[in-house]
């Protein structure tokens, strides 16, 4: 019986038959199917115990309360807190996507590093913390030995008033350098305006929830302005009952943003003419006698004409406004119909609790001083200052200030030297930092005056609206240190990386969330163990100070950052007021109206501190409304429509070469007494309008970060394909304008400005003002990972930045451009 072909076939046939009668083929089929259900390359999230940790989001100055849901030690979700007064439950998309910033190795620095590749290549090698600190301490001490401590400069993007930013400023000062520079934001302009007209230093505080008529001059209430969790919640409240809607929202903006198009009324004023509009409204209100005579007569200065020392007759605010801002004229300037101006003014003045607010977009970009003053005047003449639903004027939050530094000789000599950005000089008397000037100074001089630059929580290379000036300046700075936890564009330019924790891993404080109408001190707590070898920047500063020694060391007598926070909190306790418990049942803004609140809900400082550390906040309900007679700290002791401070400053500067020169040099087009009062200045531009017939205006959207914080990839899902398609971002352009250049939907165009050009696609949008191109901020990263790198273009690259008169802040809303169809 040999095994020939036929028999072998029989053998196989038998086998085939036999196997059918066993489980093998059937179980195999099933198992292979089950294999596809459990493919090894599909991640299986580990199970464990669910834990919830409360903290505060510090991705923006809004400081919303967040609760992090964890599985054992792994964070799996961020949710809004309902037991935190700023945001009752909701947060913004960025905060919601926060975990993608925490758990993404390719956008984070995992340990200290030093540069090996060429600048900007982002090639670093790992080093130890000791090595890194020694390197930096050595460099700084070196500068001090060379008696040029001022060559140390710091760029700080942490919220103003935050303890960390104080520590950074303190470090720079202690070393002996005046060059502590901040990233400018709307609040800086706002505080300047307040300082000039009210003499107060308190932060921006709008009682939105209690207002019944909100006139917003470009504030992106729905684009992430202030604390998004709070403002958007307020929006919800305003629309609670459609049947009897109480609140009216009016948006002044040149583009149908979410805010503009969802508002009850949209006033489309040309960008940069808001001041004129505000004054136009004042005109109507004054003319119709709708203004608050009590406030104007009793508590204000410079409303009516007056004669100054020496019997010189001066024209007051009233005269100026009546003379120069008639609806007709304003209509001409702003492009808003004069009837609209009139009706708007009457609605505003007629409302029970109106408030006019300013700070364009998210408020993360600087504003125009005179515009803010004009809006302030609008609130003033209607008597909306320190009234429920109006603007609340507060003392700064009573945190105790850090002990005085006793400077050694090197330091004090260094501090004598002028700031590189000339902020606070006679030319820019009211600004305390001008980053655009710093860049200019460096670019101007052959050798960078800055030797060592420390960068904290900032990505100026990408976020500054300066047409790339700062990026250029960085190339000249010999030594750059980045404290960023993220691999951002600025960090790529750095020589030394001292990575900070992410906001979920570190202790930090929120001092007065942006725009909130009552004082609040929040504590952001580490809800996660640091996943990488990073350190809280504040603790790094403490270590650094030790190593530098001398007066620097003595300026930082603390071991850990928590000690500093606790020490500052002592001030809250000694203020003898404030609450640390909040259960979310009765919103603070409701209780605020009474102006009185229960006494402190803690007996001792230790008790208060323990509660703050657990609950995360301290806030105060007491507020004295309408205390106009003792509220203002101006030279006149009144609200100054006519700012004596400006007058003094201008005259002081004029001593050098006469008033006309002074005005010109300060960038003022206005003449005479106008310049001391809120007035409209046409934004100066050196560009030739015939070659650049169009305007480009960058805008912010809530589901795309435009600050130093990377964009969580989840948010890309929420972008429309008319905002980003593939790697191309879109510019919003009015169909009418598009037709002129025969540009169709989706066409590729080049936008050219004096600073350069970018390639984008066109999105035809009726809501865009004709003649203006609108580009979203936040695209065009050259750093980070595949989720954002190389996606779209960054309008900042082509912004033709001017200077705001008097304040000197960058003007980003006036870029002349032309388009070329590809």
């Amino acid at each position: 019986m040999e095994l020939n072909r036929r028999n072998f076939i029989k053998f196989l046939v038998g086998g085939a038959a036999g196997i059918q009668l066993t489980p093998l083929p059937w179980k195999l089929t099933d198992d292979i199917a089950i294999w596809t259900q459990n493919w090894p390359w599909v991640p299986v999230p580990p199970v464990g115990e669910f834990i919830h940790e409360k903290s505060i989001c510090t991705l923006c100055p809004g400081g919303c309360g967040i609760e992090v849901r964890k599985v054992d030690d792994r964070a799996v979700k961020i949710e809004g807190r309902t037991d935190y007064p700023v945001n009752p439950g909701g947060i913004c998309p960025v905060g919601m996507g926060g975990l993608q910033l925490q758990y993404n190795e390719s956008i984070r620095f995992t340990r200290p590093m030093k540069r090996v590749g060429p600048r900007g290549s982002g090639v670093f090698i790992d080093i130890s913390w000791d090595e890194a600190l020694t390197m930096l301490a050595g460099r700084i001490s070196g500068l001090r030995e060379k008696a040029m401590p001022e060559a140390l400069a710091a760029v700080d993007g942490n919220p103003a008033r935050s303890t960390l930013s104080l520590m950074i400023e303190r470090l720079v000062k202690a070393v002996g350098s005046p060059n502590y520079v901040r990233i400018p934001c709307a609040e800086d302009t706002y505080e300047m305006a307040n300082f000039l007209m009210q003499g107060t230093l308190g932060p921006m505080a709008y009682d939105l929830e209690n207002a019944d008529y909100v006139l917003s001059f470009g504030s992106g209430l729905l684009e992430g302005w202030g604390a998004p969790g709070r403002v958007i919640n307020a929006w919800g409240l305003w629309h609670e009952n459609p049947a009897k809607k109480r609140v009216k929202i009016v948006q002044v903006e040149s583009r149908a943003s979410s805010t503009a198009s969802k508002a009850d009324r949209w006033i489309a004023a040309k960008p940069g003419t808001e001041a004129a509009l505000a004054l136009g409204l004042c005109h109507v209100i004054i003319k119709d006698g709708l203004y608050d005579s009590e406030f104007v007569n009793e508590c204000s200065f410079g409303f009516d004409d007056f004669s100054s020392a020496g019997g010189k007759d001066r024209a007051g605010f009233k005269t100026m406004v009546l003379k120069k801002y008639s609806p007709a004229k304003v209509a001409e300037i702003t492009g808003v119909a004069s009837d609209d101006i009139v009706s708007l003014a009457r609605d505003f003045a007629g409302a029970k609790a109106p408030v006019a607010i300013c700070g364009k977009g998210k408020g993360s970009l600087s504003g125009s001083l005179y515009e803010f003053m004009a809006v302030n005047s609008l609130n003033a003449i209607t008597g909306r200052i320190n009234k429920p639903g109006g603007i609340l004027v507060h003392e700064p939050i009573p945190l105790s200030s850090l002990p005085e530094i006793d400077f050694d000789d090197i330091a004090s000599q260094g501090l004598e030297k002028p700031r590189f950005d000339a902020a606070g000089s006679t030319k820019y008397p009211f600004s305390n930092s001008l980053i655009n000037n710093l860049a200019a100074a460096i670019n101007r001089s052959p050798e960078s005056p800055v030797d060592t630059l420390l960068v904290f929580a900032a990505n100026p290379v990408h976020t500054l609206p300066d047409g790339g000036a700062f990026r250029k300046a960085l190339k000249k700075i010999p030594f750059i240190v980045s404290f960023s936890p993220f691999r951002d564009e600025t960090a790529y330019m750095a020589d030394l990386i001292l990575p900070d924790h992410t906001y979920l891993e570190k202790t930090d404080d929120i001092v007065w969330p942006a725009g909130l109408q009552y004082p609040l001190f929040g504590l952001s707590l580490p809800v996660l163990e640091p996943v990488y070898n990073t350190r809280n920047a504040a603790d790094v500063i403490l270590k650094l100070a030790k190593q530098i020694g001398n007066s620097v060391e003595s300026a930082f007598p603390w071991k850990r950052f928590e000690e500093v926070l606790k020490e500052r909190a002592k001030g809250l306790y000694s203020s003898g007021a404030g609450l640390v418990d909040y259960d979310g049942t009765n919103p603070v803004w409701k209780r605020l109206k009474e102006g009185t609140g229960p006494g402190p809900d803690y007996a001792s400082f230790e008790e208060m501190w323990k509660k703050i550390v657990s609950g995360g906040l301290w806030y105060r309900l007491e507020h004295t409304y309408k205390n106009w007679d003792n509220l203002f700290e101006t030279p006149s002791g009144k609200f100054e429509f006519f700012s004596s401070k400006i007058e003094l400053a201008v005259n002081a500067y004029a001593e050098q070469a006469g008033i006309d020169w002074a005005l010109r040099d300060m960038g003022l087009a206005g003449k005479g007494d106008d310049v001391f009062m809120p007035h409209y200045e046409e934004t100066a531009s050196d560009a030739d309008r015939s070659t650049f017939p169009l305007m480009m205006l960058p805008f912010e959207i809530i589901n795309l970060t435009s600050t130093w914080v990377p964009n969580p990839p989840f948010l890309n899902k929420a972008l429309f394909d008319t905002q980003l398609r593939g790697d191309e971002s879109f510019v919003e352009i009015n169909p009418e304008t598009a037709a002129k250049y025969n540009v169709g939907q989706g066409d590729r165009i080049i936008i050219k400005s004096p600073e350069g050009e970018v390639r984008v696609r066109a999105n035809l949008f009726e809501g865009a003002m004709p003649g203006v191109l609108f580009m979203p901020l936040g695209f065009g990263h050259s750093a980070y990972d595949e989720f954002s790198k190389g996606k779209g273009v960054n309008p900042n690259d082509i912004i033709h930045a001017g200077k705001d008169p008097l304040s000197g802040y960058p003007v980003w809303w006036n870029t002349p451009v032309k388009i070329i169809k590809v």
């Binding site: 493919w39 599909v42 991640p43 999230p45 580990p46 199970v47 599985v71 792994r74 799996v76 979700k77 961020i78 949710e79 809004g80 945001n87 439950g89 909701g90 947060i91 913004c92 998309p93 919601m96 996507g97 975990l99 993608q100 925490q102 758990y103 993404n104 190795e105 998004p228 958007i232 919640n233 919800g236 629309h239 459609p242 009897k244 809607k245 009216k248 149908a256 979410s258 198009s261 969802k262 006033i267 809530i702 969580p712 990839p713 989840f714 890309n716 899902k717 929420a718 972008l719 429309f720 394909d721 398609r725 593939g726 009418e736 949008f765 009726e766 809501g767 003002m769 004709p770 989720f787």
Partner: protein
């Protein structure tokens, strides 16, 4: 009005479009809650996986009278003759008459995409790729164990965060309860919405706010004429917005007389 079949609950959602600001937090919350796959390029909206998707509509008027409105669109959990359920050949999707929620079982789905074709709301998306979790990036560390990540080649859709219902039940059981209070079970998007534009609850339970809201004169649903009886309702005082929600023959649409404000 009697919703759903049999007894039990009929969970539904009411979205106030006047409150909705189009911020997209609902989308992000949904993605984070349900382990949605994120690819480097999410700009191809025909292939990007979203359970809750925002549609942007404008009234088409020219500058400066343009108005924009956003339609957040989860799965409608159609109550009647659910289009996707009857067509699925492998019984991978079913309507649970005790919750009114339409399930989708990824491990059962064979990826024929018939359900996608049958759904007029585009509420269903297909996994064209393997989930994107490159080695060494560590993205998978934020995944929640409550929702199973999907494999390539299957269809997925909004589940009304069904796992949250299970979570709520577990909590109740721990307290020896069987019945859930209103608000104990809400979806991630409802919870996240900073404008409180979304209300979630049991349409069958007169106590629940939703059953009140759906009676509003401003309430409407998407493509009601098709008779799919969605359990997702919308509210808007704007006629042009309500008109956007369905196809109308000339003269068919009945505007609501504007109510006086204040």
């Amino acid at each position: 009005m009697e919703k759903g079949h049999g007894h039990g609950n009929s969970y539904g959602m009411v979205i106030d479009l006047d409150k909705c600001t189009g911020c997209g937090t609902c989308m992000v919350a949904c993605a984070a809650e349900n382990n949605l796959a994120v690819r480097p390029d999410e700009s191809d909206k025909q292939r990007s996986i979203t359970w809750m998707r925002l549609y942007k509509v404008t009234n088409g008027k020219e500058f400066p009278h343009t108005e924009v409105c956003y339609f957040p669109r989860p799965c409608m959990q159609c109550d009647h003759h659910t289009p996707c359920v009857s067509v699925c050949p492998a019984t991978a999707t079913k309507m649970d008459y005790h919750t009114g929620i339409v399930s989708q079982i990824y491990t059962r789905c064979i990826g024929c995409r018939y359900c996608i074709a049958a759904c007029p709301y585009h509420a269903r998306t297909f996994n064209w790729w393997d989930a994107y979790f490159p080695k060494g990036k560590g993205l998978e560390r934020y995944l929640s164990p409550e929702v199973s990540p999907r494999m390539r080649g299957v269809v997925e859709k909004c589940t009304f965060c069904h796992h949250r219902l299970m979570r709520a039940k577990n909590n109740a059981y721990a307290e020896e309860r069987r019945e859930l209070e209103e608000g104990e079970y809400i979806t991630a998007c409802t919870e996240a919405c900073p404008a409180q534009a979304i209300t979630f609850g049991d349409l069958k339970n007169p106590e629940h706010k939703v059953s009140e809201l759906v009676k509003s004169r401003y309430a409407f649903r998407l493509l009601e004429k098709l008779g799919t009886e969605p359990k997702v309702y919308y509210l808007s005082t704007k006629d042009w917005v309500r008109r956007m929600a369905d196809n109308y023959l000339p003269g068919e649409f009945k505007p609501i007389a504007k109510v006086k404000l204040g």
